[in-house]
């Protein structure tokens, strides 16, 4: 486990800010499918910044898995930032 505050929560909300381009969004969904990520709920919205979208989903997994998923998003070209929130927590940490 690296970088994520210790948490016993089995659910995390992940918010990804990324380029609002079809190939980037496809690739983002591909990360969820390819890494066999257990998700519950998925939403895509304009972020408020031109050319940027916000992808939000609830991850049914512990902090270690959440961090791993965040890292897979973080290295994707077109991803601008990744935030992970433990659902029993009240703090949100931006991943660089």
């Amino acid at each position: 486990m690296t970088g994520v505050p210790p948490s016993s929560s089995a659910a995390h909300t992940v918010a990804v800010l990324l380029d609002d381009a079809l190939v980037t969004l496809n690739r983002a969904f591909g990360v969820l499918r390819r890494r066999n990520v257990p998700i519950e709920g998925l939403a895509l919205h304009p972020s408020g910044t031109v050319g940027e979208a916000r992808l939000t989903f609830v991850l049914k997994a512990d902090a270690v898995t959440a961090d791993r998923v965040a890292q897979q998003f973080h290295k994707m070209i077109g991803v601008r930032s990744v935030m992970v929130l433990a659902n029993d927590d009240s703090t949100m940490e931006a991943k660089r």
């Binding site: 970088g3 190939v23 591909g30 290295k75 070209i77």
Partner: protein
Amino acid sequence: MSEMLSGAEILCRALVDAGVEVIFGYPGGAIMPFYHALPDHPRLRHILVRHEQAAAHAADGYARASGRVGVCVATSGPGATNLVTGLAAAHMDNSPVVAITGQVSRPMIGRDAFQETDIIGITLPITKQNYLVQDVTELAEVVAEAMAVALEGRPGPVLIDVPKDVQNQKIEWRGAQASGAAPHRDPRALARGQSLTPGASPGSLEDGVRAAARLIAGAERPLLMVGHGVILAQAYAEVRALAEKTGIPVITTLLGISAFPDGHPLHLGMPGMHGEVHVNRAIQNADVIIGIGLRFDDRVTGNTASFAPQARIVHVDRDRAEIGKNVPVTVGIVGDARDITRRLVAAVEPRRCERWVEHIRGFVRTRAESYRGDLSPEAILASIYEASHGDCTIVTDVGQHQMWVAKLYPYQRPNTHITSGGLGAMGFAVPAAMGVHLARPHGTVWAISGDGGFQMNMAEMATMVQEGLPVKMAVFNNGYLGMVRQWQQFFHEKRYSCTPIWSPDYVKLAEAYSIPGYRVKEASELADVVGRANAQPGPALVEFMIEQEANVFPMIPPGGSLSEPIEAEPAAAGGA
């Protein structure tokens, strides 16, 4: 001064501007405008393969041998789908490849047109990035960006899909427009140097290096594990300096082989499923492991629950997402293997590990080999080493021969061992060796395959002849898909289901391609025949009739612990 140029001409110019010299490809309907423009750009040497899969493997081989981007080209539909295995292999082994595919014209996309396929969708999970070029004005910039993305950070394949009407579209051209400042590229995508301690926020690089140096200083049984990242970063001298300053013995993974000289007193060998017993035992007894540029793949670790139970692990990797992915890590350092290793060398105190090295030496087994005849893999590989005076690049395929080469060939020079490790794609060796030759035109390259893998891409002999590529081919013929047969013998009650494989007469086959062909049945013929094949100015093929049921030992059963190898035939070992 401006001129009107088509997308196809811009594509060629962008490739020339990016320094591309060799393209592996195969023409077809949707890529014809590109092929129409190509003869006007003699700097781009085109190699006409016999199947697009070979184009991708050859571009991969070229990239690994040269450190530059390998380029392959195919048409839409079947041309593009045939690239898929090669791109997946490049993706798994972090090889910088750019694939350019034709696509049906924009108005036809999404209508199931002739030879239309969603190659962007198909390749999403096996490329670092891919582009559907929607407008000719983007083309030059996309090519420049693709070349940069393929190489930077952790390298990998990138695909550019260019609709036929975009290739034909004409615009006013005002010289090279690609600024290198790619619009979509986020500099944060590049992992910066950083250290990671579990439960803590990411710290500075110096913190990580200091923590690693402290672990090394306090270790009684330390090990260096070196992977492909060391070859990609060309960190050979740094790794050697670290080993020699600290006396820590070095393990090279399958893709790390040749990153550290084989005969060096600190070199232990390859770990994992077919790793030597003493190497795996060293891992299981180590108290600190410094892993540089490897991902602790399951073929290396066996069952991760029992992997290196006493060791605290320092993991140096280019990719932040690898730290802690497969094994728990005490200190993670994100950055270039060469840079980080150089810092480690500066930070560590000189020390020796003589007792530990002596201890490992006690694990070494002299093993009864399983081949009955004298035409053993050792003898064959020794003859290739002798014939090439130890100065050639070996490209291996996938299977038993791949493990024999990995274990037995005495690599001395960096990056002279090239193989499909992560994907394990049979059929890789022959086309990849063509790419290696083009990257190293003055060196000798041997493509070593089994009789199964060779038959997958043997049509590339025609490419070698037509394009003048003097690849030397070795075929280890045991009449079986040997590695699968070995698994059947050990784990499937010797039921040799569909593993006996018939071969053509390879000597006659080679002759049909006007390539000199040889067959070796006994070890006494080796020096003469391999010497003659090696001396051929063009391609040559040597078939070695090896023991049919020879096995690769030792072997960790799939999912098993590194502590429990199979070291001999199951019957002799009391049943498996």
